[in-house]
Amino acid sequence: MAAVETPSSQQADRGRGASDAAHRGTTVKADGGPSRGRIVLRYALLILLALVYISPLVFMVVTSFKTRGEASAIPPSWIPNPFTTQAYETIFGAAGTPVLRWFGNSMLAALAHAALVVSTSALAAYALARMEFRGRKIVFGAIVATLFVPPVILIIPNYLIVAELGWLNTLVAVIVPTAASAFGVFFMRQFFLGIPVELEEAARLDGANQWETFVKVVLPLSKAALATLALLSFLTNWNDFLWPIYVLFSPEMQTLPAGLSTLQSANAVRYDLLMAGAVVASVPVLLLFVFLQRYLIEGVARSGLKG
């Protein structure tokens, strides 16, 4: 079981890394080690750097609660005075920039996209991981090969395909075309290969067919991987920029990133409004990040290790 990649083994990996680090940490100290003063200094430096690093985000939030004038004032202030939600009221109410509607569009699109990626990738990956059939190598090879195909090559033809399908200016255009995720198949296949086959064999012996085995045995074991893939797909879609600005036309159909671009060109120097829009676009992903940090960071880390 130790070699199997399940959530518990991730824990083990983490534990190992941490203990290595701790080990090294103590050794450094044994080497003569930094004095208490230097440790304090190092901490202060680290904290200072972290504060500087995160300050743009703080300033974004702060500015969104300023008045129009204060947002462009020099010297810049770090505490809104007066504190106002005017910027939010303005962008929520404006006909040309229906930010709340964009929020709904983005949420719908990103959820649907994540669901589509996870379901199609998982199904395909299971066939590629567990089934023997003619053409398997070719299919897998083709999918892996497209990992190396830069997406730029798809922009123009996919635009025309989407136009032909009558999907322009609909959310389908931002949900479906990018859902054929080679990474998703690759990622899920790796995970399935790590599940001990005996569990599935037992289910088959009990009379379950391939589909039932997949749904009742494999998927429950794969929650962590599915969640990670869903999360990454959600984020990618939520943040996608190039594609939506070209395939969505009308103000009420925009996603948040595309809408932000509209907002910026419509209110070039209304930084209070722009920051409020940016905050609206950031809140869901930052919340996801705060609550699902482990899945996310480890998903990224593992995608790196396995890529």
Binding site: G96, A163, L168, N169, F249, S250, T262, S265
Partner: protein
């Protein structure tokens, strides 16, 4: 076009006429030409006319796209509201987006059937969109309203014709203008707005002497190309061949125009690198004394409380000329596929054209002579600019000319104004590129 198939019953048509006459009479009551319009209408009575002036079909909703995102927006909204109030069975839903996004999205949107039924676009974009069959001819509307060249300037009227068909009904004209800070002028002892090179340079010198170190910021981005075109035309250059086959940015006259722009920086009247829009921001903030910008900034300046004056841009070279453009109403292919929408769209743009005196409030100059003569400009700041309407020059109706400007001219100008390229070299490279592009355009657009 489905319009030709819409043969309104005679009774309806007659009532339509009467309605139009009444409408013209009331709304153009102040206009000395109001009666003239009606007379022309009447004179056409015997002819077959598809434009009925009234829409009596079932309730219909028209999507109306425009790019009036600035100070002009509220005036447009007001006109639309009034139109909606007067027409029970037509509901016009405006969608106002940035012009840049507007032109990018319009062809795709109309193709997808997700676009507008009617809209307003710039004169220099009509040919492009006509060639793309995004918009359909509006000759019937012009005829039905009795609009002729006489009521517009020849330049603006002719520029709406592509392949012998009219594609736009001009709403306004808007040109570049010179704005100046009256306080600065007073401090420098300048009593009158400069009108030619001598008085302009004299003013700059006086302003500098009075402590306004950089009185005239020279943009390298927008509206640098509008200044260039104005100056080149003043100098007698033909920037684009009338038939759309070539660009001559590099003629001696045109290069001279660019060199003049560059010289403003070389002589220290402007910072070397002016960030986008910051010449205007600086003017508004009182950091610079003169700026050339579109007359659509009038409302914004009024609101800012700056003590500013407005005058035609000075004639730096031989002849009076200034870049101008015009907002034109159009009907899309999308609307033309639905008889009711097509009919309603005609009614809408006809009504808007008749009511363009309200539009003067936006800072624009109504395109129709009859409306201008009605007195709406008497107290309007753009009145002094309107007097120069005969010197306003427009880009020729060549498909793709907008792209040519953006892809070839503007980047080259930017580099030259910034001093990163020699004007002559920059302009000949750009001209070559532009000409090639224009030749290709002629071919693909079937010019």
């Amino acid at each position: 076009m489905s319009l030709t198939s819409v043969i309104a019953p005679t009774a309806r048509r007659r009532r339509g006429r009467l309605g139009l006459v009444a409408l013209a009479a009331t709304t153009l009551a102040v206009s000395s030409c109001g009666g003239g319009v009606s007379a022309e209408e009447a004179a056409q009575g015997g002819e077959e006319a598809e434009f009925s002036g009234e829409y009596t079909g079932p309730d219909v909703e028209l999507a109306y796209w425009n790019g009036f995102t600035g100070g002009d927006g509220p005036f447009m909204q007001k006109m639309v509201d009034e139109f909606n109030a007067e027409h029970d069975n037509i509901k016009v839903t405006p969608n106002t987006i940035q012009w840049g996004d507007f032109y990018q999205r319009l062809p795709a949107a109309v193709n997808a059937g997700e676009g507008p039924d009617v809209g307003a676009m710039h004169l220099d974009q009509l040919a492009t969109n006509a060639a793309r069959s995004v918009i359909v001819p509006v000759d019937n509307v012009a005829e039905g309203l009795g609009l002729t060249e006489d009521d517009f300037t020849k330049e603006v009227w002719d520029a709406g014709i592509y392949k012998d068909k009219r594609y736009g009904i001009p709403l306004d004209v808007h040109s570049l203008a010179m704005y100046y800070n009256k306080d600065h002028f007073e401090a420098a002892g300048i009593t009158e707005a400069p009108t030619d090179e001598a008085s302009f340079m004299d003013a700059l010198e006086k302003l500098q002497a009075a402590g306004f170190e950089q009185p005239f910021w020279m943009p390298n981005l927008w509206p640098s190309h509008l200044m260039y075109l104005s100056l080149a035309w003043q100098n007698g250059a033909e920037v684009y061949a009338e038939d759309g086959s070539s660009a001559s940015f590099d003629s001696p006259e045109a290069v001279e125009a660019l060199e003049w722009q560059r010289s403003i920086i070389d002589q220290g009247y402007s910072p070397a690198e002016v960030a986008i829009d910051s010449q205007y921001a600086a003017f508004k903030a009182g950091e610079t004394s003169i700026t050339w910008d579109g007359i659509w900034q009038i409302n914004d300046l009024k609101e800012s409380g700056l003590n500013y004056g407005i005058a035609p841009i000075p004639t730096i070279f031989g002849e009076d000329a200034v870049w101008a453009n015009s907002h034109n109403f159009f009907i899309t292919k999308q609307a033309s596929q639905d008889e009711n929408k097509a009919q309603a769209a005609q009614v809408f743009i006809g009504w808007m054209s008749e009511h363009s005196e309200e539009w003067a409030g936006s800072g624009m100059i109504p395109a129709r002579q009859s409306v201008r003569d009605s007195g709406v400009l008497d107290d309007a700041p753009q009145g002094v600019i309107a007097e120069q309407i005969d010197s306003m020059r427009f880009l020729p109706p060549v498909p793709g000319v907008g792209g040519v400007q953006a892809e070839a001219l503007e980047p080259a100008l930017s580099n030259a104004v910034l001093g990163r390229a020699e004007p002559q070299q920059a302009m000949s490279d750009a001209a070559q590129q532009a000409t090639k592009l224009m030749e290709e355009n002629l071919e693909s657009f079937g010019g």
